[in-house]
Amino acid sequence: MFSLLQEAATHAVEHSEGEIVGHDAAHGTDAAAYGADAAGHAEAAGLPQLDLTTFGNQIFWLVVTLVVLYLVLSRVALPRIAAVLSDRQGAITGDLMAAEEFKQKARAAEAAYDKALADARTEAQSIVAQNRAEIQAELDAAIAKADAEIAARTAEAEGRLREIRASSDVSAREVAREVTAQLVASFGGNADAASVDAAVDARMKGAVQ
C-alpha cells in the first residue's frame, strides 16, 4: 500500500544495515548523543516513522493492544453501558406512564367531585321546592281555616246584632206605648190601647228600621 514509503524505508534500511557496525565511529562527537539515541534508525530518511525495522514491533504490540481492548470493551463495557442506558430509558418511560396514570386519576377525581357537587345542588333545590310546597299547603290550610272562623264569627256577631236590634225595637215600642198612654192619661184623655198602638206604630215607622 505504501509503495513510496516502502521504497524510502527499504533504502533507509539498507543504508543503516551497511553502516550500523561502524556507526558510532563514523560520526563525530557532536552527533554521538543523538546517534546513540537513535541507534539502529534510519537517519537518512529523517523520520523515525519510516524506520521499517520497528514496524514489526509496533504492529505486534498494536494488535495485542487492539485485541485486548476489543475484548474488554465488547465483553464488559458495552453490555454494561447498554444495560444502564436501557434501564434509564425504562425508568423514564415507567415514570412518564405513572405520571400519565396519576393525571388520569386526578382528572377522574375532579369529574367525580364536579358530579357530586351538581347532584348535591339538584337535591338541595328539590328539597327546597318540596319544603316550599309543604309550607304553602300548610299556609293555605291555615288561611282557609282562619277565613272560615272569621266568617263564622262574623255571622254570629251579625245574628247577635240583629237580635239586639230586634229586642231594642220591641222594648222601644213598649216604652213608647207606655209613655204615650201615661201622657194621654196625664193630659186627662182616655185613650184606648188600640188607638195608642196605632199612633205609636205610625210614628215609629220612619225611626226604627
Partner: protein, 249 residues
C-alpha cells in the same frame, strides 16, 4: 532530550520524540521487545478501559461524571453508526468504538509532556486503516456478493461516463487506507513537531515569552485536533461501512 544534552544554543530535534526505543535498555528492537510503543499502547488501552469499565462500575441510573463521559462516548459512536451506516451497521459497533477510544486516547495521551504518541506512527495508523479497509471490503463481498462491485458502477451517471467514473471510483477506493492512515499520522507528527520547535525557541531569552505562548496556543489547538482526528477516522469508517452494507446507494 538532545537539546538539553548539548546545553544552550539552538538545536532542534523535533523528531526525536517519535523514536522507538526499547524500554529496558539495549538498542535492538525485535518484534517482541517491550518498547516505549508498548508502554504507551498499554496506557492507551488502560485509559480506555478505565473510562468505559471503571467509570461505569456504579451502573447508576443517575450517572456520575465518569459515567456521563463514558455514556457520551458510547452515545456519540452509537449514533454515528446508526445515522450513517444504518441499523445493520450496529453489529460492528464494538469494533468502531474500540477504534474511536484507541485513537482518541492515543492522541490525548500523546499530548502529555514527554509522552510517546503511538498514533503518530504510520505503522500504527496503517494497521488501523488496513484493518478498516480489509474488514469493510470483506463485509461488502460477504453481504452483497458480486453486487458489491456496483459501488464502482454508478447507475445514475450516463452510460458513456460510467467506465471513466469506475476507474476513478476504484482508485479512490484503494486510496482510502492511505488517506486514512496518513491523515491521522500526519496531523499528529506535524502538531507535535511544531510544539517541539517552538519549545526549542524558548531557549533564547528574547523570544522565550512568545515561544511559550505559542506552545500554549499550539497545545490547545492540538487537544482539539486530537479529538477531531479520532472523530474523523471513526466517521470515515462509518461511511466506508455504509458503502459495504448498501453499495448501490
Amino acid at each position: 532530550m538532545a537539546t538539553e544534552a548539548t546545553g544552550g544554543g539552538l538545536e532542534f530535534h523535533p523528531m526525536d520524540q517519535f523514536v522507538v526505543k526499547p524500554l529496558f535498555g539495549g538498542t535492538d528492537v525485535h518484534w517482541w521487545t517491550p518498547t516505549n510503543v508498548t508502554l504507551w499502547l498499554a496506557l492507551t488501552a488502560l485509559a480506555s478501559i478505565a473510562l468505559l469499565v471503571l467509570g461505569t462500575r456504579g451502573r447508576a441510573v443517575v450517572p456520575n461524571r465518569a459515567q456521563s463521559v463514558a455514556e457520551m462516548a458510547y452515545g456519540l459512536v452509537h449514533k454515528m453508526i446508526e445515522d450513517i451506516a444504518g441499523k445493520d451497521g450496529l453489529q460492528y459497533f464494538p469494533y468502531v468504538l474500540t477504534l474511536f477510544m484507541f485513537i482518541c486516547f492515543g492522541n490525548m495521551l500523546g499530548l502529555v509532556p514527554t509522552a510517546f504518541t503511538v498514533t503518530s506512527h504510520i505503522a500504527v495508523t496503517g494497521v488501523l486503516a488496513m484493518a478498516v479497509f480489509i474488514g469493510v471490503t470483506v463485509i461488502g463481498f460477504v453481504k452483497n456478493g458480486s453486487h458489491f462491485l456496483e459501488l464502482f458502477w454508478i447507475k445514475s451517471a450516463p452510460l458513456a461516463v460510467r467506465p471513466i467514473l469506475a476507474v476513478i471510483e476504484v482508485i479512490s477506493y484503494f486510496v482510502r487506507p492511505l488517506s486514512l492512515s496518513i491523515r491521522l499520522a500526519g496531523n499528529m507528527i506535524a502538531g507535535h513537531a511544531v510544539i517541539k520547535v517552538f519549545a526549542g525557541f524558548a531557549a533564547i531569552a528574547a523570544v522565550a515569552p512568545v515561544a511559550i505562548l505559542a506552545v500554549v496556543g499550539m497545545y490547545a489547538f492540538e487537544v482539539l485536533v486530537a479529538f477531531v482526528q479520532a472523530y474523523v477516522f471513526t466517521i470515515l469508517t462509518c461511511v466506508y461501512l455504509k458503502d459495504a452494507l448498501h453499495p448501490s446507494h
